[in-house]
Structures are given as structure tokens and as C-alpha cells.
Amino acid sequence: MIATEPLHRALGLSDEEFEAIVTRLNREPNHTELAMFAAMWSEHCSYKSSKVHLRTLPTEGPQILVGPGQDAGVVDLGQGMACVFKIESHSHPSAIEPYQGAATGVGGIIRDILAMGARPVALLDPLRFGPLDDPRNRYLFSGVVAGIGGYGNCVGVPTVGGEVKFAASHSSNPTVNVMCLGFARADAVQTGRRGGEGNVLLLMGAATGRDGIGGVSVLASRTLEDDAAESRPSVQIGDPFSEKLLIEACLELSERGLLWGIQDLGGAGLTCAVSESAARAGIGADLDLDQVHLREPSMEPFEILTSESQERMLAIVRPADLETVLEVCRGWGLEARAVGKLRGGGQLFVRREGHVVARVPAAALTDEGPEYHRPLASPPWLIRVREDDPATAPFTGSLEDAFLAVLGSPGIASMRWAFEQYDSLVQGGTVMGPGADAAVIRLEGTIRAVAVSTDGNGRYGFLDPFLGAAHAVAEAARNVAAVGARPLAVTNCLNFGNPERPEVMWQFAESVRGLGEACRALGTPVTGGNVSFYNESGDSAVVPTPIVGVVGLLDDYRLMTRAGFADSGSSIYLLGTTFAELGGSQFAETVLGKVSGRPPELDLEAEANLHSFLYEAARQDLLASAHDCSDGGLAVALAECAISGGVGFSVSLSGRELAPHVRLFSESASRAVVTARSGREEGVEQLAGLHGVPLTRIGLTGGSRMRFEGMLDVALADALVVYEGAIPKLMSESRSQGVPPV
């Protein structure tokens, strides 16, 4: 760092941004104020590069109770209940310290749900790493998984789903996203209530320390170069035990009507929480830093204001309730201090030792940040990559070898190694846990349940960011429909490289366009999400990685469908149509060594029809099993049905116009494999007709082999070894790369 560099640049603000602050304040900001602006106007907090694109997303629908703009989205589950959900990225800290980075990511997203007044009931963890032949990637993978489990298990929120994918571009840039769901009574959802002049700001939970200072500006709003070591103080240690106490205390306060409002402390710490609380109400606040419970007494005002110490919440409390609130906190063994008050007049006054150390309009921090239309340019190399269609490449190898190779590829193989490290059962609501198309969580005391899935396909995003994002929505919704639920709404985490590069910005804009189009067509509005930029090192950015979480509703979880073949002698149907689509497929990557061509086309109407068929069929109890068809194509879908049910099959895949390997491994969208309950075949066929879903009876379940007539024939037991054994085998040398966390 050059000694003469102006402070604002060191803090990540551009000269123009600095000028804007001066104009807004009518004077130069002091250092404390500058630090507050730098944090709030960082990419992570202000969404300055993404806002103009995110605005195009569909956000409304009768089922949406709360859309974007709050800590988390909320959908109506009927019967007075609501589901609160949100996804967030913690990739940057995880790249430096995988265990703690992932652990604190879990803690952060849980507090977003809590800030809506909901009990956190489930976690999902979509993850991306570089290939596992590199020990560093194994270290990151095992550290992140241990960290998610370490925090989630101890805080008592079950981790019920997620996904893990591998790609070279994630080698130094792992993607760590965590989604959390909560349940609340619809009328008890906290929505950042307005008004409240004179109300007390109560800081609850952990002491504020120096760790995590500048997390948003240092870690999440820049690329990570070799200065990773300097980012150290931004990495924090999670304390799930304190978080558990925080959850129980907040829920008790909320149930007893003692909260006027509540806000989590995440990026930009106290500055963000206080300025948002004030600005949302169109007022100001007094904040007294002397009242903040510090871990290190010598902290500077700017440190206290921007510290991102974990396990803290800011409650807004009526003065008359203060004593009772403090008592509740004491009961849970939680520290709580009144640190300020909301006041009229829009200004945020910050005091330390009796002096005003900062005075800024709250709204200037939260709402008046910069907004950029960054230049876009599609990458020139993409044309060439797309022209190389793997479906036209000759394939003369053994279908059986190809099948086993695809089944055992890390992107397809069972992730039991990871998800068995997660408590998926705590809270007693898990009707279906990890390893299924979607996780299913029941609402206590009812037969209703929520189904949820997160998805994203990096190869598709790389080859066509528009289609990639649309496929992510389609696949996540298809997974939810496959268990018999009606998809309701979407949350998303957009993981990209440096937005100042036109190529990356183009990828981003295209992804948002794809996301919007798919959400509109499938009737699943976007309720919120998170953008994570600067996921690159050197000049290698992550492939466009939009992760989509879809939440759906099951009226009666006893009618839920499972993927596994349930018994012998059932008719197996393929729903949807198979085309010669190997572009970006798992087969092309694993067997042909190519990530090229165009991703499969996506007919969103056909997709929507498939979904309504699937949840209608479940509701009418027509299906013995249902499984969506995606990565690895029909061959993998059938194999997974057989492995998960422990029942083999025999199918005949017709379609002379397609080569056998294309019939097996094409990843054409909008398909699913179902079996009919015995005697309900006609019902299945009729319902498919009614919904306009193409249906082909391809064979029967039974036996202990996977038979694709005229193509290949593999023992179920052999396939099982490949499918279950792949990840443990890759990870076995790595068990102790790095000291296991205490």
C-alpha cells in the first residue's frame, strides 16, 4: 500500500464515491464517517453493481407475504403459517479458513431468519470446489463441511439439503452458500416496523471485538490476491452455543410481544443495523459507543462501528418494555445493552466518551449509495466453445464403462460422506432429509410440509449464463415438484467474478435475465437473495454460479413421493422428451473431457406442465416413485431410483434417431422418471395427457440388475459401490489435511 494513498481509496471507495459523500454531507467526512460509508457503500452492502439488474426480477404473487428488501423473503403456507427463507454466500472467508468461514456463514444466515421473527428450522448448503485430486481442494471441502456441521449441529438447526459440485474455476475460489428456512405465524412476521421515535436500540449477544473489521470491504468486495494473510482479522470464530441462546431469547421476546423490531448484525455491523433501523422508519438515531459491550476496551469508534463480530442482534424496544426485555436476556444468559435510541430528524449521531464522533444522515448510508450500469461484453471465446457440440463427437467406447464413470464422477456420486456429518433430524420436523430430490420439513402439529431444493449447474452457466440460470430455477422447482410439492417462490445467490470486468458483468446480467424469465414462466417470484462478486484470483474467475433455492408446499406430507423404486413389477415411465443434447453434460465432461456446446434448450411451458403433473399425481396418490432427470441424464436418473430403492430395473430406450450414448446421457430438460402404483397406470397416463406431458412406458422395476436393453447391464451392487464409494475414496487420503478442529 502506498503511504500517500488517500484513506478513502484504502477503504475501497472510488474518488467519485468520495466526492458524492462530500456533496451529501456538505463537508469532508471524518475518518469514522468515512469508514461507515466505506462499509455501507461496499459492493457487498450496497449492491451497487447489481441493483439495476436485480430490479428486473419478478417479485410479486399472491403467495408472497414479503419480497426483496427485507432480511429474508416470506411466503404464505396457508392456515396462518408462513415460511421465511434466504440464501447467502460466505465464500471469501471460507477460502481463507474453511471451517470457521463456513461455520460463521451458517450463523449469519440463521440470524437473517431470526430477524424476521421466525424459528430457523432447516439449512441447505450448496457448495462448489475445485477438483478433489488437489489436496488443497480436499482440505477446503472437508473443512467447509466440518464447519457447516460444527455450527449447524451445535445450534440445533438441521441441515437437510444442499449440493456439492466441482469445477476447475473453483480451485482457489470455493463457493460456499448457505440457505436457511424458518417458520413463523404469518401475523407474527417482523418486517422492519416503521416509526418508533424514542424506542431503545438494544444490542444483544456477543461482545464486539476487533475480528471481522472490514469483512465486507476487505473480503467480500474485492478479489483475493496474495494478501490473504492481511485479511486475517476478517476471519472470525463462530460460537454456535451463543447463537442458540440468541435464537431462544429472540423467539421468546417475539412471542411475548416485547419486540418493536429486530435486526441482525451482518455486513457492516452496527453501522448497518442502526442506519437501516432508522432509515426504514425515515428517522434518525443516537448511538452511544460507550454502552457497547467490547471484547477489547481500546477499540476505536470506527472499529466498533464496523466490526462484524458474530452472534449479535439489535432489538428495537419500547422504553416501557426495556426492563422485561433485559430480564429475558438474563434468563438466557445473554448480554444485552441499550446502546441508543431512535430519534426524529433523519440524522445518525454517534458518540464516544461524550463527544459526537460521527454525524451522518441515516438514509445516506443505506439508500443513497452509488448505483452503476457497468459495461457488459460477451466473451469472444464463447462462440468457439459453443460450436463444439459433444453430441456430434464420435463415441465408440464401452457404454458400461461410460455409465460407471458418470455415476462415480464427483458431481453425481453420493454426497453421503458430507451430509452424514450434518444433524438432519434435530427439531423433529424432517420428513425427508439429505440425499433426496428435495428436503421436506413438516409444520409442527399439522400434515402440511415445505419442500425445498437448491440447484445450479456451473457447466451450463459457463456455456450460456442466461440458460444456466433458467435451468437452475427449472431444476430446483422440478426437484420440489418431484416430491409432490407445488413450487411457490425462489431465493438465489449469484456468485460471480469481478463486476468491473465487462465479461463478468455480461455473465451476471444474462444470468439475472434467465433467472427472471424462468421465475415468471414457472410462477415462482423471487423473494430475495444475495450477490457475491469478486470470486476470482489472478485472472481466473468462477464460472457463473447462480444458485437457486425453491420452496414449495405439500398439503399432506403423507402423500410425498420418494425417488427410490418401491417394489418389483411397477411400470416405469419417462416423462418428457429426449433430444440430442449433450452440450455441457456430465457425460461430455467425464467421458469426452469436454465442457462445450450449448446447454439443453429449456421450454418453460413444458417445464411448468411437468411440475403440475408431478404434484397432481402425488396428490392423487398415483405414483410409487418419482425422480427428476438432470445431471447425467436418464441413465443416472434410473440408476439413482434403483440404488435408493434397492430395486433393479429393465428398460428399453427406443428412439432410433439418437445414438445409444445420447439416449442414455442426454440432459434434455423437463423430464422425470416415475413408477405407477400398481393398478394406477391408466391414471398416470391420463393425467399426463391432461397436463400435456409426453409420456413413454420404458420398462419395469425388479431384480438386482440395471438392464438397459441392448445397451448395458450392470449389477445393482456394483453400481452401488461406485456411487457410494467415489467421494470417500477421493477423500480418504485427505482425512487429516490440517488439524481436525477441536
Binding site: I96, E97, D211, R232, Q236, G238, D239, S242, V739, V742
Partner: protein
């Protein structure tokens, strides 16, 4: 020669130490009101086979830095060494 080493790995100053905090929090109710500043780290004991004490120590230092601790969040100290009996 075979030398036994003791190594302490502890969280860097300034980082939250949840273990220390939990112990600290429990002490007053157990009647230990006069105890404070609790920090918890790892204690690792191991035996190194080397030509000299200096060589063994340099191995321990390197192992501690690259494997036994995570320098992003932890510091380590090599406490002591002593001749180890044959195992």
C-alpha cells in the same frame, strides 16, 4: 536420537475463544469467582527421531506451522523437549 516435544496451539489474540468464554461463564456459578481470562488451546505431544536436537526442533517448528496449526487464526509455541525413551 528420540526427542519428545510439547507444542501449544492457541487462537490468536483478539479472536473470540468460545471455549474459554463458556468455561469462564460457568466458573462463578461453580464458586470460582476469582478466575478470569480463560483461554483454551490445544496441547500436542509428539516424539521426533532426528540427528540432533536442533534438527528435531526445526522439524517440529515446520510441522507446527504447516500442519498442526492454521496460521490464519492460530499461533503456536514449542514448549519444551526432552529425551524420549525408546517406544
Amino acid at each position: 536420537m528420540r526427542l519428545r516435544f510439547e507444542i501449544v496451539v492457541s487462537l490468536k489474540d483478539g479472536l473470540l475463544d468460545p471455549q474459554g468464554k463458556a468455561i469462564q461463564g460457568a466458573l462463578p456459578t461453580l464458586g470460582w469467582e476469582n478466575v478470569s481470562d480463560v483461554r483454551v488451546g490445544k496441547h500436542i505431544e509428539l516424539v521426533v527421531e532426528a540427528e540432533s536436537e536442533a534438527e528435531a526442533r526445526s522439524h517440529v517448528e515446520e510441522m507446527s506451522r504447516t500442519f498442526l496449526s492454521n496460521p490464519v487464526i492460530e499461533d503456536f509455541r514449542v514448549l519444551s523437549s526432552e529425551e524420549a525413551s525408546a517406544s
